[in-house]
């Protein structure tokens, strides 16, 4: 092994070779001597970008090893593609540490938004291997005359291949070495300064590198945000008077005071007349029925227009600005579907799939039927590229109005390549734009939408009610592939989902679901009415009676029995505790009651450690013995720890591991405690 041979040249570990035929020797000699494999985080071997956030640490790991017993050096390097200036790539680097059994780990923290790549690199640390052996033999009292000569040659060769100042320093070290007695030679060869000097002259022999693995860095709000959803038309105190953007201003202080970050509106575009739905999803609408805002498009315009009854474009701009003043970012719905009155049907009939009788099949998302809307055909001959570009331009148009967040309706029924293109295209110009996928479908597609670029995703949360279901789901979201490709936004309800659990749970049930959502993920959302504990269903269905999708629904937000104060406090706790600003860092702990979910959320350094206990029973008091996770803090079972109730501010000391809790649905069916070693 010498440093100056051609095999020190950069070669790519993990590149597919041809294992079918005889491998030419010339190719074999280019294969990396050092194996680098099982790199995390990666998604589908680097086919898709891993999700990351500015200022949030990325932990990397790999198996790295080679034949024989030489020491290895391993590092991660990363760069933001946007930082590239001409030919000069702006790489950052950090060493990985050997954790035993060929596992190496390290981390880095991206600082800018946008596409990044990282690589794992390794080489044989020849001087390190030499030092290790010298140290061992010297300690064993074995003759090391030959080793000392080898040490001299290490310095000499390093000097020979170096230049200028480094050459002079290496030569000086070499010359000094020759003047010393054996013991002093050992000391010089083992001292850290010599190692640093040799590292400067490092030639990275047998250099091996993984391929560049993609990483997509988004702003922190992609990982941590509280969403509030409302229908602007319901910002009225009279169902007969259609609310407007201007009316929404009055609602902003209350939403701000609940500590929300995002204010999301269902579609604000003109609503079609043809096949307009009446109250409760009936197939005929009266003349004053407003229709579903998801039936987009009328003579007043399509996806780039505003429903006239909501106000003007100027009104919208003022609302966006006013919301921002209240710390609220507006999110719009991006629902790619058309009422039969949408201008596109006439202007671009080739974007649709027509049946033999000259009609278009109405939309379905089994078992739901949407008689008031039709879908475009993304692969219709005339739809390419016109439809794709138009849809992109619709999004960019709203981005230019200051909207940076889009909740996308039913993305799983549109082609994956379309999303991959659209999101990459928009974010290449506007890396702060985010898309939330409203897909409720099978797991593979749920994950894939994240892989092709969705920042956040709706989840199965509303259908996870038991302790076992919640523990399994929260855990799964913390594991590969989900943790790397999928940021779950736990909506407690939506205009489409009035969860069965809440139908007869009373106020306690709403507190339970609010606690689970706010503590379970950095991302959660609620649709207005939840804070008032609204739950009247269409009997036997998971839908709201008199759904706001088809009606103007004024509300009394001061109605008694609301949970506004609790929501405000839950959101405040989230803002104050980094461990709660992500769904990651979840760990289930033991509470000896199947009605009590008990878990921890903690930062990697354990500096912020929150314990959460939630009774899943909205009707009865639940009590449980539980285990404080003292082991997570490296404490013995009889340690004294400090607890702080984050809802009330009370503080106390816990003595030992085994503790007891009591959770009352009529008061507060959950506990949120900051946990630390007693000071």
């Amino acid at each position: 092994m010498t440093a100056d041979q051609p095999f020190g040249a950069a070669t790519v570990a993990g590149d597919p070779t041809d294992p079918h035929h005889a491998l030419p020797l010339t190719q074999a000699l280019k294969l990396p001597r050092i194996a680098i494999e099982d790199i995390t985080p990666t998604i589908d071997s680097g086919q898709f970008a891993v999700k990351a956030n500015t200022g949030v640490r990325v932990d990397v790991a790999a198996k790295v090893y080679a034949d024989g017993h030489d020491k290895l050096s391993v590092r991660v390097r990363w760069r933001a593609l946007a930082e590239q200036k001409g030919d000069a790539l702006h790489w950052h680097g950090a060493a990985l540490r050997d954790q035993g059994n060929d596992s190496w780990t390290g981390h880095f923290t991206p600082q800018v938004m946008g596409a990044h790549v990282f690589v794992i690199e390794a080489w044989i640390d020849q001087f390190g291997s030499y030092r290790y052996e010298l140290e061992k033999k010297h300690a064993a009292g074995v003759s090391i005359e030959l080793e000392l000569e080898e040490g001299r040659l290490h310095l000499l060769k390093a000097a020979e291949r170096s230049e200028r100042d480094l050459k002079r320093r290496l030569q000086a070290a070499h010359d000094t070495l020759q003047t010393l007695e054996p013991e002093a030679k050992v000391a010089l060869l083992l001292e850290p300064d010599t190692a640093h000097l040799m590292a400067e002259a490092e030639t990275h022999p047998y250099f091996s590198s993984s391929r560049e693995l993609p990483l997509d860095v988004e702003r922190e709000r992609a990982l941590f945000a509280s969403w509030y959803e409302l229908f602007p038309r319901s910002a009225t105190d009279d169902a007969a008077r259609h609310g407007t953007f201007n009316d929404v201003h009055a609602r902003l202080p209350m939403i701000r005071d609940m500590n929300f970050d995002v204010l999301y509106f269902p579609p604000i575009h003109p609503i079609g007349r043809s096949h307009r739905k009446g109250p409760n999803n009936s197939l005929t609408a009266g003349p004053d029925d407003p229709g579903s805002p998801y039936a987009i498009g009328s003579a007043d315009g399509g996806h780039d227009a505003i429903h006239p009854q909501l106000g003007s474009r100027e009104d919208f701009r003022r609302l966006v600005a006013a919301a921002a003043e209240h710390g609220l970012e507006i999110a719009l719905d991006f629902a790619i579907q058309c009422s039969q009155d949408h201008p596109w049907l006439k202007e671009h009939p080739g974007w649709f799939s027509w049946r033999p009788d000259g009609t278009i099949r109405y939309a379905e998302n089994p078992p739901k039927k949407y008689q008031d809307i039709v879908n475009v055909d993304f692969y219709a001959a005339d739809a390419i590229p016109g439809l794709w570009l138009e849809l992109r331009d619709v999004v960019v148009g709203w981005v230019e109005e200051g909207v940076k967040i889009f909740r996308v309706d039913n993305p799983h029924t549109k082609p994956l390549p379309f999303w991959q293109w659209l999101i990459a295209d928009v974010r290449s110009q506007h890396p702060d734009v985010m898309f939330l996928a409203e897909a409720f479908t099978k797991p593979a597609m749920m994950a894939r939408l994240g892989k092709v670029g969705y920042s956040q995703s709706y989840t199965y949360f509303t259908w996870r009610n038991t302790k076992a279901e919640l523990a399994e789901y929260f855990t799964q979201l913390n594991e590969a592939p989900w943790r790397d490709c999928y940021r779950p936004n736990f909506f407690v309800n939506t205009p489409d989902i009035n969860p069965f659990f809440l139908h007869d749970s009373g106020r306690g049930g709403f507190l339970i679901r609010a606690a689970l959502a706010t503590m379970g993920s950095g991302l959660w959302g609620m649709y207005s009415g939840f804070e008032l504990c609204e739950a009247a269903p269409i009997p036997g269905k998971e839908e709201y009676l008199d759904s706001e999708k088809y009606e103007v629904r004024p509300r009394d937000y001061n109605a008694s029995g609301n949970i506004i104060a609790e929501i405000a406090q839950l959101n405040r706790i989230r803002r104050q505790n980094p461990a709660l600003q992500t769904h990651l860092g979840f760990q289930l702990y033991t509470a000896w009651n199947d009605n009590v979910l008990f878990f921890g959320k903690r930062t990697a350094d354990r500096e912020n450690f929150i314990l959460v206990a939630v009774s899943l029973d909205p009707h009865n008091v639940q009590e449980a013995h539980f285990e404080l996770p003292l082991w997570e803090l490296g404490l013995p079972d009889d340690a004294v720890t400090s607890g702080e109730d984050l809802m009330t501010g009370h503080r106390w000391n816990w003595y030992g591991k085994n503790q007891f809790m009591r959770l009352d649905p009529n008061y507060q069916p959950f506990g949120i405690w900051r946990f630390s070693a007693a000071s």
Copy 2:
């Protein structure tokens, strides 16, 4: 969606795209609409070939899905690279079945040795989607006038795009349809013949294909073989008389009668004189000490020569032929190391790494020291390509002498690219050649040696003694990545490993380990002496006293207390039961005793189902209640099943699930039972 648009063209699913920058629309339009992912079996995303065997079924699975609700068609196609004739690739195909949640499964059975590839392909089954909807609507009594017209157009368009006879048949079906009443139209459109006709005219719209995934097919002996190891020089009845190849002939009938398949010799090459080891690994040898056969090379030659005391090349050839007549295939040792007397040191000094004092560092595999051998330096400037080619030629030379199996000494201390090249090179000409990796090192390297081409591998088996250890290890070998890249050869002992467990276990312990090895894997091996229950150790060490590595060791193979009959029967049972001809198909079952390992081995179709119970206690009788795995046969807990003791031939009926066993180390500390539903 129409079939004749450009997006039906073959595109590659899983090809890395550039998720960093805006994705050009032209590229996005080439991305597959159908996602194909999580394909099994694969190793490191297709970087290495999955192991397979002629005549052994390969089960494949993938997640396949697309946007929307259309039906998909999914298939696997595979081909042997050797079957390629000019440009015509010889593909085979089989349909995959939808198992729910986007999982598709299927299988195929390769018939020829050598490199293969397989792909998973999918397209939208437009006529299938149409049939599904027609059937549903017809059953629901909904108006289907429009659907019938769409059906007619399906037939018409298929006729238009087809040729000759197919065109005529489609046109005829279309014309017939027009003459029918609605009910008869439905019947015609739904009948299987119409589906088959439409399948013939299939255009594979939205065709998506995985990349070609490599598969390496070896002969069955790579998966199922019983190895017997002996030192030819010990084929003598007098330690003072060096045994010869000719002496080995007399041993063949006994080894054949024990039903072994492979007869493996440690190195047969000239043994060096310099630093020759004496008895018990001592550093000085007497003039008559034979030395370790692993110290290869003397004035008599190197790796391509035969140690003169063993006989001539002609003797060797006659032994290979005689062994074959006894159903035994000779395996040789390939140990890439040299005594200091090896001709290469003088002929090719540039293949070695010389120290400043003109010596070469002797070999070490910590904590073991090999003062009698030195290693080559694969990356020494002068070693490329000479050394690599020479080593390849050594192997090919022995292949030409009829040796097709090589046990490779310490492969993990030689570069991985070297093995990848050498094995591919040899096997491209001789696909029936197999290499067994004698590596005992960390798991990543153990697996990687399989990935780069080793047919079989030594294992951790000798150090797995408790029920928990064995259950975990056998299970792990049945899981990815191990099941796809690593065929475990369970050696019960080797000249280097005299397991602690056997030191004082007596005969019962040897039966225990023989049962575990023979039942646990299709591949097992023993080094001579095991059948005689030899276990005298160097005190406190896992090494044999008076190791045969340094001495000629005659044995009395008729000594009392041997387990020759049991070994013969165990090997016979293996030959008669396909479930035992692989380490796969293992499943742990419940026996309520931590000293009793109870498991099943079964073929995929459950036709051959073997239950194995092994007491791990060589000293005491162990009893256990256990559960017959009735559920594996789809039987209720009170079912009657049939058992057959494969050691004795006894048959009985079991009644119900809960049973009892008694295992006596003085008689037979294991049970092997063929299990089936009672007839």
